[in-house]
Every structure is written in structure tokens, then in C-alpha cells.
Amino acid sequence: MSYVIIGNSVAAVGAIEAIRRIDKETPITVISDEPYAVYSRPLISELLAGQVKEEMMGYRAPDFYERHGVEAKLGTRVVSIDSKKKTVKTEAGESIGYNKLLIATGGTPFVPPMKGRELGRVMTFIKMDDAKKIEEMLPELKHVVVIGAGLIGLKAAESLHHRGVKVTVVELADRVMATVLDVEAGKVVQDALENAGIDIITGDTVDEILGDNMGLVNGVKMKSGEALDCDAVIVAIGVVPNAAFAKASGVEVNRGIITDDHMRTNLPDVYAAGDVTEGLDYLSGDNRVMPIWPNAYIQGKIAGFNMTGEERIFTGGLAVNSIELFGVPVVTAGMSNVDSDDLEVLKKSEGGSYRKIVLRDNKVVGAVLVGNIDRAGLVTGLIRERIDISAMRERLLADDFGYIDFPVELRKERLGVAL
């Protein structure tokens, strides 16, 4: 008996920790093409900014693999799965047998087919090595264009700014973080970025990346016709599931690998978790790609339990995002930016702070908090637990919304109040 996990990031850790809660014996092999022990991917921006040292990037202690009885094959790429023979094949030609397999290969940056994309210093930003490469280029960088104003693009922009590089962010939508933020919240974030000195161009995109005679980036041409000089381009339009090899091996893939409520794929004994999946969305009940850290851990955990035979149901992921840019914290949960007739929106904005709660049938289904985000989790909990908020509706927008606003019985149940 053996467990094999492809990918060595948070979903893999969730699975390993769950497996070892039940099964302390069976060998686990983790295979990843990245050469590092598991690290906190979101921290690559802090690494580039010089705020976190490489030694502090580890997501788990250095003895994690040893303590969990895991053999880590790092720097090894898996090219195919043979679900009949129950083996995976590596790029070097090695064949590794499994009884239960987890695909946790995350996402890969989407780089649209545009002229100049093959030039030197056209970068993406999702791996530790990306941060290191950009660090090496820093002395040459005066102005960088970031394509895409989502979380990753903005984090990259902030990091470069901290290192003294002029940054222009180009976004096709009419605002930053358009998938999770509405116009008002987007404006607060955009103001913070612009006040710090980052240029933001919305409603436009890069048509072509321009290069010099050395094959290095020296500018971009925008769709609007405008041209900008720059020394590098970071493409941060989005991340797509890393599922091509799985698909070629017979795994059912839509945008991501389709998983059921046990995190199983269509192939026997093959599970998937994390950014590579198109798993259940708690609020909509549909399957969708939800590329966030907490969801990857939880899916990995559920997969891990089920791989041991301990049945656990995945009740669906809840989209949560937390980001702080130039001192402005922004958190979103659930349907933070959906327009629909059956939704009721409560909102309040004052100064640099914004609070929005989205309701459906007297239950919270979405939230955005900017500025004062303290105790945001109370609201997330209301979403998660589908609590009827009729009794606290008037207080949901209060900055000091708290347990005091909960019906007393509910509060006592939740806090386990002394009897």
C-alpha cells in the first residue's frame, strides 16, 4: 500500500496531515517539480519586497517530511498517470506505483498569445524562483509594467515599488481586483496604490510587448495605441489549473479537474485538491475553480481522509480573500461582487473605510470590508453557518459588530458559555 501525491504545496500538506491522523504507517511519496520543501507561496511577494527572508518561507518545519513519514521527490516532474497499472511516470522515465493518488498540481499562469511574449524579462509571478529571478534583475529595472490588477499583480506591484522600481499596472476591467471588489471598494484600493506612486491604467490592455535588439523588453504597446517604455513585464492576468497531463491521462477536466464531494476524480483511486480542481462552491452549489490557499488546504484534508478510507464530505469552498496594500486592509468573503435581483445589499462608506454585507433570504452570503476589518470572521461565520440574521440586521454594518449583537441563545451555544 502507498500514497502518492503530485505537487508539494498547501493541498499536499492538508492531505499528508489528514492521512497521518488516521494512518501512521503507509508510506507517502510526494513528487514536485519545484526543488524546495513546502513554502508559503503567497509570501513570494514579501520575499521580493525584502520583508521576509528565504529561511522564513517554509510553510512547515524542516523535519515535516521525516516526522510524517513522507518521501519527497523534489525537482521531479510527473508527465502521465496510468490508472490501469496504477503508476505515475516522471519526466526522467521513472515509474512510481500508487494505491491512492492525489493530484495537487495547483495552477499555472495564463499568458495570452501576444506578440513579444517570448522576449527576455517577460515574467510571471507565482513561484519562489520567479521572485528570485526578478530580484536578480532589480539593478536593471527602472520601470516595470504589470499586466493584470488582481491579487497577484497588485502584490507584485507593491513589492517592486518597495524595492524602488516604478510600476505601472494595466487592467482591462474598469477597476482593480474587479472579480472580488465592487466599484466603491475598488476605488479605495486604487487610491491607496496611486497615492503611493503606482500608476494604474484601467480599461486598456497590452497588445504587444516590444523588445530591443538584444531580445529584452523595452516597452509595451497598448490597445488604445499608447506606448510605454519599460524594462520588464509581469503577466498576472490569471492562473489556470495545471491539469493538462492529467487530462491526457484520462482525468475528466473542464476548466479544472472535476471533483465530487469526496474530492475524487472520475478515475478510480485518483483524487484531486487545490487550485487544480473545479470543486464545489459552498454558496452556489456549482463546481468552480477557487484558487485560494484555505480552500486548497481544506480540499487536501478532505481528500487525505477519504484516501485512508475515513469518509469525509467536502461541503464546498467559500471564497475568502485578504490583502493589505500600502496599509489598507481589504477582506472579502463569498458573493462579494455579484449583481442579482434576489440579493439585498447593505453598505456604508466613510473616509477610507467601507463595509458591505450581501444578504439573500435573511442570510449573509457575501461581505467586503475595507479599512476596519477587525472581527471580519464573525461575518464569515454567519455565511458559513447560514445563520438567520433577522435579529441582528440593524447591526451588521456597525464597526463594532460583535457577539453582543447575536441572539443570546445563539451566542451561548457558540461560546459554550459557563453554565
Partner: protein, 144 residues
Amino acid sequence: MKRVYTKEEACIGCRLCEVHCLTEHSRSKNIIKAHKKEFPRAISRVLVEELRPVSFAVQCRHCDEPVCVEACITGAITKDESGKVVHDEEKCVGCWTCVLVCPHGAPRRDLERRKVAKCDLCPDRETPACVEMCPNRALVYEER
């Protein structure tokens, strides 16, 4: 495991639990120095909520399946063998993901350090400071 529970009927909203929690988590552990001389100042990990005449103290519940541990992007929060949910200040980067997911609103933001602070059940003491120092025994530390 032993946890702290609040008796809201007995709480008078004096906030001494907050004062003693801050002191216990300061460098000097001296009540005056902790509040007046230490910078950055420690912050209390227990929060008193109040709407006269009701008041009660809330702190981390050391959940059985802690969502903060699952969500923390750096691995700074872990559940140890005793069941205690512990936070490693050195690893924390102040991303506030735990603040966003904790259903009890327990992790507090320490804005000066840009880190989260949460109840650690006072590792240097037999009984957490908030429980011991509450003048009205409105907090209890017990096994359930």
C-alpha cells in the same frame, strides 16, 4: 482540553481581564510598565463586549477543527498535541486571513507589530491571567 468559559451573568464589564492579559503578554509582565513604558505596547488577546447591562469576555476557543490553522498562509498557527491552538509571532506576516475566517472574531490585529495576537492560554501560568484576575469569577477555566 481545558478552555476558558465566560459567565455573562457575573461579568460586570470592568475589563480587568484585558488589563491582565496585556500585562501577561508584555515583556516586563509589570502592569504599570506594560501599559505606560513598553513600546510597542502589548495587546490584550481577550476582548470584552458590552451593551449595558450585558457584558462578557471573548477569546480564542481553541477549536477542535480550527479554521485559522487551515487558512493561515504562513503556517504560523498550529494546533499542538495538547489541543492548544498556538500562534508563532515570528512567522506571522499580518495578512489577516485568520481574522477573516475565525468565526468567533478571536484573532486581534496588533497594528504596530503588524501581527496577529491571540489567546495562548498563558503558557507560563497554571491558570490563564484573565481567569485568575477576574474580580467576580466571571471566567472559568475548565475541562468540558
